[in-house]
């Protein structure tokens, strides 16, 4: 081959080779299908009422708790703790509950450790989300910021094969083309039938947008969906009714002071326009859980401005109507009870955890029958 012909046809050959090698990555994956959790009916001898405990917090400030079922009534929690939100000394801490007491909390992510793992400057840590997959591997996603405020966040991922005793090094998820900033995680994920996971996330830079990440079984991002008609909403809290029908309730950051709702009928691949519900929201995090008996449980601050009231509400018609709130906290206007997390463990017990005055994490455990009085 002459040099001229080589120079002309080599790029074509390289392009054809690259296309052939990229073919597996070019094909669309199978549509997402949600894998519903297997939860036992409520315990016949479950304790009545609500048990209340504080998680042991190793620092003056605590916020953004996440819960995860470890089986047999044991659960795990992670939250961020330090001198104050956004401070350089904030760590992601982890503790487990054996059905009776909480273990001491210990840091599982520090700023310095993350900096080393992802080879980037890290100035602050926030919003952890725990999830245990079908193989028993515990996953932790959390946000970190290099420069700027929370709108400059990126998501990181770690996993543990021994229920949180030891953790892998962290790796960065790339979810945005612009400096990879402004994708934040908050809210419980949904397991998918293919071994992957759907992760409710949100975008904050310039516009606030609820989004939906799909990760494959190797925890690689394979899709990202923006929930339409939502420019002032964030932090989707999702519940699946079956393998394809999902409801997401959205925290309000706009002028309506109401929770918004969006539905997906195809496992999260597409979403309906976000609509305003009647549920008040003071621009504060919410938690949504589908109970084993089919009811929906919502934990939120049912007010328009402050975060001093924290309540539970139940829906028996897939979120169309909600019960009157049952108040868990009724503080004065300068107190904060916020960022709830909900979980029903495999024994059927329900767990609620939330930020208690930014100082501690409070945990409440109760049987589903406790909610009957709400309806």
């Amino acid at each position: 081959m002459t040099p001229a012909r080589r120079d002309r046809y080599l790029p074509l050959a390289a392009f054809m080779l690259a296309t052939a090698l990229a073919l597996p990555s070019l094909r669309q994956p199978a549509p997402p299908r949600v894998r519903l959790s297997v939860i036992q009916p409520a315990l016949a001898n479950a304790p009545a009422g609500m048990e209340r405990r504080f998680l042991p917090n190793p620092a003056p400030s605590a916020h953004s708790v996440t819960l995860c079922d470890l089986g047999k009534g044991n659960i795990a929690a992670a939250w961020f703790a330090g001198s104050r939100e956004g401070a350089a000394d904030v760590n992601i801490v982890f503790a487990t509950f054996d059905g009776k007491v909480w273990s001491p909390a210990r840091p599982i992510v520090t700023r310095e450790q993350l900096q080393h793992d992802v080879q980037r400057l890290v100035r602050k840590l926030g919003n952890p989300v725990l999830w245990r997959d079908a193989k028993g591997v515990l996953h932790l996603w959390f946000v970190s910021v290099g420069y700027g405020g929370w709108a400059g966040s990126a998501i990181n991922h770690m996993q543990s094969d021994d229920d949180g005793a030891t953790w892998s090094t962290a790796r960065r998820l790339i979810t945005s083309p612009f400096l990879n900033i402004s994708t934040l995680v908050h809210g419980a994920p949904l397991a998918l039938e293919d071994g992957g996971v759907a992760l409710p996330v949100y975008h904050e830079f310039i516009a606030k947008r609820p989004e939906w990440l799909r990760l494959d079984a190797r925890q690689r991002v394979i899709d990202k969906v923006r929930l339409p008609a939502s420019t002032h909403e964030l932090q989707p809290a999702a519940a699946a009714f079956d393998d394809h029908d999902i409801l997401a309730l959205l925290r309000d950051a706009g002028p309506t002071h109401r929770i918004h709702a969006s539905h997906s009928a195809d496992g999260g691949a597409h979403w309906t326009d976000a609509t305003t519900t009647v549920l008040p929201n003071p621009n504060a995090g919410i938690a949504l859980l589908r109970l084993a008996d089919g009811r929906l449980l919502l934990a939120s601050n049912p007010e328009e401005t402050d975060r001093n009231l924290l309540a539970l509400q139940v829906s028996s018609d897939r979120g169309k109507t909600w019960s009157a709130p049952r108040f868990i906290e009724r503080g004065s206007s300068d107190e904060e009870y916020s960022y709830p997390a909900l979980l029903q463990d495999e024994t059927g017990m329900i767990h609620l955890a939330y930020t208690w005055q930014r100082k501690k994490i409070c945990h409440i455990r109760f049987a589903p029958a406790t909610l009957d009085e709400l309806e």
Partner: protein, 191 residues
């Protein structure tokens, strides 16, 4: 490994700032960015947190520029950089939430995106301009190999630094074209 892309970026930057006889110092300064300072953090890690990993297109162009083989399409002409700048002007606001449509989603399993890019690249190749097909082929090879942390083809194709550089090149190359006496560049690739 990708932290070395920051070193390459710095070597290119210093090579532009230093006199020609001191170009070797650019490599020294670039490699020095890997040395940890306060809290074990290096300049390269601080820059990586700021603007992330450069795209594979940017890395290819940086390698060519450092080797003194800047393609004419970037060294002298304005049309190619203008196309990249205009696409970026639409792409980044939409990806940052300016509307319900997020073009970044097209980069996951990017059959459509690849088809849209391959058609002009193949047409230009047919007309004898091989650069664009080369760039796309290497980007796609890197995507298939998973060289970057990203699983999205967009991150292999472009990045904000490339968009800004292209906008600057459009202005500079247009100005130079109108005032040929100011032309100082040594673009070597006739394509």
């Amino acid at each position: 490994m990708m932290i070395l892309a920051q070193v390459l970026l710095l070597i290119w930057l210093f090579s532009r700032l230093l006199p020609r006889r001191l170009t070797w110092l650019a490599a020294v300064f670039g490699l020095a960015a890997l040395i940890p300072w306060g809290h074990g953090l290096s300049l390269a890690a601080a820059l990586r947190a700021l603007w992330g990993d450069p795209s594979i297109t940017t890395i290819q162009l940086l390698v060519l520029a450092v080797a003194g083989r800047t393609p004419a399409a970037f060294g002298r002409r304005w049309q190619g950089p203008a196309v990249i700048a205009v696409i970026s002007l639409l792409f980044y606001p939409l990806a940052l939430g300016a509307g319900d449509f997020d073009p970044y989603r097209l980069g996951f399993h990017p059959t459509v995106l690849l088809a849209v890019l391959a058609i002009p690249a193949l047409l230009l190749w047919w007309r004898g301009q091989v650069l664009w097909l080369w760039l796309l082929a290497v980007d796609l090879l890197a995507f298939a190999a998973g060289v970057l942390e990203s699983t999205n083809l967009w991150d292999y194709l472009t990045d904000p630094l490339l968009a800004i550089a292209c906008a600057v090149l459009v202005v500079r190359n247009l100005t130079t074209a109108r005032n040929p006496s100011n032309h100082r560049l040594q673009a070597t690739d006739p394509s």
